[in-house]
């Protein structure tokens, strides 16, 4: 028998009112503005955009504020919002070679065209808490230096000249880029779909998997060929005009991981590659993504699949934190009837066992 129960409206309404109060916090402090979140907590905003798979700084900042800084909740809010909008079309693929670079480093070449550009990095800071941020001290303007017009060449293009590295990933000519938001997931998956899933995947999950490959669970001998962060132009073909026009710029982080490869029955010894591309400034996520992208190419490259990071179905099915949190957190919702049924069943099983044991004891007593 299934019994529906009603109730809790007043409790829910008051709970949400209490949530709004706690979100606002101490009223004697000024309330935080969306612009302040977008400007001063920019990397939190970037993470929300990346994992919500929706680029919009203002809306992501709103989501961060609304969620009290719970980033997975913010990601959920932004994902829900995107479902309310129609899709106008697809962009022309981004050209990351034309990026206005804000940071670019390579761990494989010291002197490379364009140089090592550190940009606004946490690297080489001492990770000491900075008491100057306790107050509102004036901050220096950035230093400047003549930029020159040297092209910031892609590291993969440098290595390509020697023929020792595989090319950028090409799928068959007639392959249409798949879209996870339109078609149900099926395994095995093509690399374009995997990259879409990884680009929106949970940073912590991908970080842990990337780390596991370094610790020996599917080791793939990585070097950071290049990381670049900066703004790229988004262009779209507009049928009304008959040509592609700029829609504006977005900031992305790209990681080219270069992996030493001994060769297999399917491929000769060479450097293989893993690729990471993420909305916003997120070096850790793009590096993790490229490690996992490379690990998931095990089958294609004829490697043994021995580790979790190489298991496509396992990785892709569990990388989405909105799905994951939905299923884990639903456990807290009322399961009263399910639990009553389970309780009755355990009682019955217990009674059966005890009944059988009593029966045995009586038999023994009778025999003695």
């Amino acid at each position: 028998m299934y019994v529906a129960v009603k109730g809790g409206e007043a409790a829910i309404s008051n709970a949400h009112r209490l949530l709004a109060d706690r979100r606002r916090g101490d009223r004697s402090l000024p309330s935080i503005t969306i612009d302040q979140v977008a400007e001063q907590l920019g990397l939190a905003v970037d993470r929300v955009m990346a994992e919500a798979s929706l680029y919009d700084r203002s809306l992501a900042a709103l989501a961060v504020r609304q969620s009290r800084g719970d980033l997975i909740e913010a990601i959920f809010l932004l994902r829900a919002y995107r479902t309310t909008l129609p899709r106008f079309g697809s962009s022309v693929p981004l050209d990351t070679a034309e990026m206005q670079v804000e940071r670019r480093v390579s761990a494989t070449y010291k002197d490379l065209p364009g140089g090592q550009l550190l940009g606004p990095t946490f690297d080489y800071t001492h990770r000491l808490l900075d008491p100057s941020l306790l107050s509102d001290e004036a901050v220096e303007e950035p230093a400047r230096r003549n930029a020159g017009d040297e092209q910031i060449m892609r590291v993969s293009d440098i290595l390509a000249h020697e023929g020792l590295i595989e090319a950028d990933g090409e799928l068959p000519q007639d392959h249409q880029a798949g879209d996870l938001t339109r078609e149900p997931m099926e395994f095995p998956m093509s690399r374009d779909l995997r990259l879409q899933a990884l680009a929106r995947g949970d940073e912590g999950f991908l970080l842990a998997l990337g780390y596991s490959t370094q610790r020996g669970y599917g080791r793939n001998h990585p070097f950071v060929g290049e990381i670049r962060i900066g703004e790229v132009e988004v262009e779209m073909d507009v049928p009304e005009l008959g040509f592609a026009v700029s829609l504006g710029h977005i900031r992305v982080t790209e990681c080219q991981m270069v992996n030493q490869f001994k060769g297999s029955s399917k491929a000769p010894p060479q450097f293989t590659r893993g690729y990471g591309l993420v909305f916003g400034q997120s070096e850790r996520k793009s590096m993790s993504m490229s490690l996992v992208d490379r690990a998931l190419r095990a089958e294609e490259l004829g490697e043994d699949i021995t580790a979790p990071a190489q298991d496509e179905e396992f990785v892709i099915s569990h990388s989405d934190n909105v799905q994951a949190t939905g299923f884990v957190e639903h456990l807290k919702l009322p399961h009263y009837v399910d639990f009553q049924a389970e309780l009755a069943m355990v009682r019955r099983m217990r009674a059966d066992i005890e009944g059988a044991r009593d029966g045995e004891t009586e038999m023994k007593d009778a025999a003695e």
């Binding site: 919009d56 962009s91 206005q100 550009l117 940009g119 950035p142 799928l171 988004v234 026009v245 977005i250």
Partner: protein, 156 residues
């Protein structure tokens, strides 16, 4: 962008530059240019302004086959002037007022009588601002370039 511009006829290339610069405009620039217009044109909405999504695509390895990276909000608008000239605009984000004004300026740019005004009052300043911002960013980044030098070792 350069390659595409070279293959387009001059008129289309000019329109493309206009539409792209209007997409890169700050709302304030468009509002100021609108306020400065002496004869504000009659306009009629054809479509929008409406907000939707564009699926942003990347390429595997940077230059390989396309894949879907994620979506971005985009707002577009189409308007018509009394003369029948149709203006069209689209820009990332959700600012409908900004995009509606951009569509009007796109239409005015196509009219011989107002093109020069739009060029000098709006497009050139936007272009200069963007160039100055890009130069500043490039110089700030260049200041963080590592200059390697070899340590002179103690032994002879």
């Amino acid at each position: 962008m350069d390659a595409a511009e070279q293959t387009l006829p001059a008129e289309q290339a000019g329109r493309r530059r206009c539409v792209s610069l209007l997409a890169g405009a700050i709302a304030g620039e468009l509002h100021a240019a609108w306020d400065a217009l002496k004869d504000k044109p009659e306009t009629k909405p054809v479509r929008g302004p409406e907000t939707g999504l564009v699926m942003v695509r990347g390429r595997i390895g940077g230059g390989g086959s396309p894949f879907n990276l994620g979506e971005a909000t985009v707002t577009r608008a189409t308007i018509a002037l009394a003369s029948g000239t149709v203006g069209h605009a689209q820009a990332l984000g959700t600012d409908k007022q900004k995009v509606r004004l951009a569509a009007i300026f796109d239409a005015l740019w196509q009219e011989d009588a107002t093109r020069e005004h739009i060029e000098s009052r709006l497009l050139t300043p936007i272009e200069n601002r963007i160039a100055a911002e890009n130069k500043a960013k490039a110089e700030e980044t260049a200041a963080t370039r590592v200059d390697f030098f070899t340590m002179v070792r103690g032994e002879d």
